[in-house]
Amino acid sequence: MIRFFNVSKFYDNLTALRNVTFSIDKGEMAFIAGPSGAGKSTLLRLVYLAEKPDAGSLTVDGIELENMKESEIPYLRRKIGVVFQDFRLLNRTVFDNVALALRIRGISEREIKPLVYETLKMVNLRHKADSFPSALSGGEQQRAVIARAIVAEPTVLLADEPTGNLDPDTAAGIIRLFKEINARGTTIVIATHNRELFRNTGKRVFTLDSGNLVSQGVG
């Protein structure tokens, strides 16, 4: 589903990723681990096309990203749900933020309502549907982002530090939710520094350090 081949990414004089090669299978749930500044977010940003690699090649769902036409980019992005590390919630209600993912995909308003409420219930945020992000706690904002990422049932779910603002119980709930979604066929990649998340999951863990893929193991 996702294939990195010798991918490198440079910022000025800094190497964010160096010759990274790995692939994640369709339907897999995998983790990207590593300390702060290791390149986890950069790796995910390459997948959802927020950045372009400086070297190497990158395939998502069988599509070679380098040769892609610009007009196809939105359609590839719609296959991908992203939990952004910095949230990127718009200044609208939680409902509208989550519904946005469906509206972008052209889903009718009639279908949107039940879908959004159901998803908000999954992340335990149904009661905040009409709140604005500025009136949410950190963890509530994070759960709103998670709801937006999963509501449209994407082919691939990329989650960047999805539990950084969540207490262990809530975090465990979110991981359980991800596993359910994964069981229904969605490929999931979670970038996290929190080893608790993947301990004893039996899922593959790719560890980055200073832009190098230093180990591949099983959690």
């Binding site: 992005r77 719609r78 946005l100 509206r103 995909r105």
Partner: protein, 291 residues
Amino acid sequence: MFTSYPFKVALTGIWREKWINFLCILTIATGLFLITLAVLFVHNIELATRKLPEKFSITVFLEEGLSSKQIQGIIRTIKSNSAVKKVKYISKEDALKELKTSLADAEYLLEGLDENPLPATIELGLRRSSVTGAAVENLLEELKSINGVSEVQYGRKLLSAIQTIKTNSEAIGFILISALSAGIVFVCYSTVKILFYRKKDEIETLKLLGATKGFIRAPFLIEGGVIGLIGGVISVAGMLSLYYPLYQRLTVSIPLLKAVSIPLGILPYPPIAGLVIGVVGALIAIGRIKF
């Protein structure tokens, strides 16, 4: 349609940040108000100078000893010319009376005359549209060729003076109003662009979520359009609500204002201009969307 997604986003967006949007609306309203004011100013100067040509006249001197039937014939011929607006016949007797009046105290100068030496004349007023060099030359040729006409006189200097003033004031007015309009339209556009500058983050997020260009632009264009349209409507409303009270008060001290005219036909233009400015401003503010 107005409850569809982009409209809802646009309208709630305007409402939520109503103060800053209102400021932008007022800016556009002010800009369009000023342009309208300038157009009206030039329009009224134009109206005022338009009446000048009517004061331009041609004098036709008639030969001696024409019968009144012949004179009637000449008058009819002249009247049939489309460039001629009005015709005034001055008989020999009238001409003498006029001369006596103008000599005033020196009237006794004429006492010894046994015969009236003054010729009968016809004064012509021209239609506005005909007071151009070529048209007048044509008319003069025609007049001279009429039987019974001995000479034709006209104010060549006055004609050219009128034309110079007209051309000059129209050109200067055009330059001024163009500069003003271009400037104010730029200012309005710039305001909309600065207003939309703060949406950069939102646009970036929409792109990352997989939105197409159309999906991203629609609400912003609608928002810009609504802001511009309201601005245009306010400028017209301001114009009308200021016109009557201010007009009545000012005409007391400035009688010239009585001649001021506001053609109702221009009223739809400020809102249309506002709409266009808002939409184009938003469009350019969003800029080229690159995924």
